[in-house]
Point group: C2
Chain length 331, copies 2
Amino acid sequence: MTNKSNLAYISEPGPATDGLEYDEALRLTELEVRKLLKNAPPLIRVQTSHLARVAGKGMRARALLACSIGGDGLVRRGAVNAAAAVELLHLATLIHDDIIDDADMRRGIDALHVKFGEKTAVLCGDYLFCLAFDIASSISPRESDKDKIDGVLPSYLTEICLGEIRELGNTGNLDLTEREYFRIISGKTAALFQASFHAGFFLSDEPREAKDLYIETGKQMGILFQLVDDCLDFVSSKKKAKKPVLTDCRRGVVTLPLIYALRADKTLRLKIENGLSEQELKAAVIAAGGLEYTQSKIRERRTKAKKLISSLGSESKKTRLELLLDKAAAL
Amino acid sequence: MTNKSNLAYISEPGPATDGLEYDEALRLTELEVRKLLKNAPPLIRVQTSHLARVAGKGMRARALLACSIGGDGLVRRGAVNAAAAVELLHLATLIHDDIIDDADMRRGIDALHVKFGEKTAVLCGDYLFCLAFDIASSISPRESDKDKIDGVLPSYLTEICLGEIRELGNTGNLDLTEREYFRIISGKTAALFQASFHAGFFLSDEPREAKDLYIETGKQMGILFQLVDDCLDFVSSKKKAKKPVLTDCRRGVVTLPLIYALRADKTLRLKIENGLSEQELKAAVIAAGGLEYTQSKIRERRTKAKKLISSLGSESKKTRLELLLDKAAAL
């Protein structure tokens, strides 16, 4: 076995000085992810090609690329590979999530475990994890820096696992507190945003002292993103969300709109325990102000994130990150 | 989140020059693995503590430590952490394997997914993967070397995944060829032995040119180890194997003793298709010479590995590796 056999099909990164415009870097990242999925070893290609059929919004890749913008307004080529790695990690977590959540659909197509069975899906997730680490380890550090991208990723990923385990342990728990809910989403969603911001910072030319600011911004954006997703589960149509809606409740995942509604409407708990239709539950959560409350939390996080962004790097970087924040906050 | 939060409980490695005797290093590795499992975050501790209840043979840790022995006959402290990481990776793959194989027991206790459910087991496996990478990324490279341990691990792990996928795709396939069987076990078992040898070499003071020799020795030892395991499935008692025997056949995993028996006894296939009791199958495989043939392959690999070992490092290292080979070959 040659050591880098799995990367034989990854694009050769250009010289480190070879800067790219942000849009071009994003396009190359999407191409790279698609290529990695479509050119996977034949054994697993049918599964990974299935995943390549629909792309997500690429929020984590966008975040990483935006954070990596240098003083010259350009993105280093290595950031494209890092962004591809982060998207693959995200895909890997989605595959395992869908098994854990018994979710049938993902991004408008059958979930992997539905189409190919749980066993294959576990292994595909594992494969993509490893592939992502493999790519991350091939990215050279900047000389002044002791960190390496593959050195920072694992600890964020353990946070994701812990968030997922925490969520699983609270399935159907109507006593879930707001505090515990935020701990769950800080792990399961925000940690990978933090990783993307951290890796982007790492590939930028920002001074070392700025690191914590980047990571904190990633955390706020990640939490906000999940809050929006949890609102969408109550308000969106199936077509728009590209996945079934109200699935959280159906699967027993308790999210903020419901937590608030249970707090505001003391009769709701008994109603749920006695059995409510989905439409009745949705109406009750909205009537109790669950969505409004969650939206107020989204606004809070948005204000925090905006303030943080205002201290990050050049004007072009700030603009990119603000646009990304708008995208994350779009209901 | 602090970046190394998950490692707060890992022992501080001593100075790089602080050498250890092999036996002491092995003892410390076992302690370290147990400590990491028992001191995992509270959320997952009940599961990881379950895993800490029984230890395996630690073949991969032993291999790594033996390969890392320096010219002074001692093991660097960093090798203890690397060996702990490799054992955790092995545990992670076992957890996912047991889900995939529907195995009920592992090392004499309930498999994790049996005790805690499949969903939790998927996440525990993921957590241990990440923890292992986290530890690996904290090990400093030797100055002369461009490789880092966390840089070489992922590509071996993708090989493991591919081996597992290949095996899964051949469930119940009585037409499995010997060649394909060796491809499967080269991935699913030998790749982690190769990784252990590679990492051990990397932590030793051997010249760079010796790298491929180490990796090749790891491959031969890994294949031999799996061949022995596949024999044991036919000959061992449940008590001795600490797992149910004849499980491979029951789960449709076709291994070399059966492949040979099917080749030697042309009537066997039809008998299997018509239904054979486990005892009848065992008797038929033995009568057709399936075990003898597999043992001849074990001897071949042993001779190859012995020859390779004779060119590796100091006398004390050779002795260690030969003892390990004996252990791997013990039926």
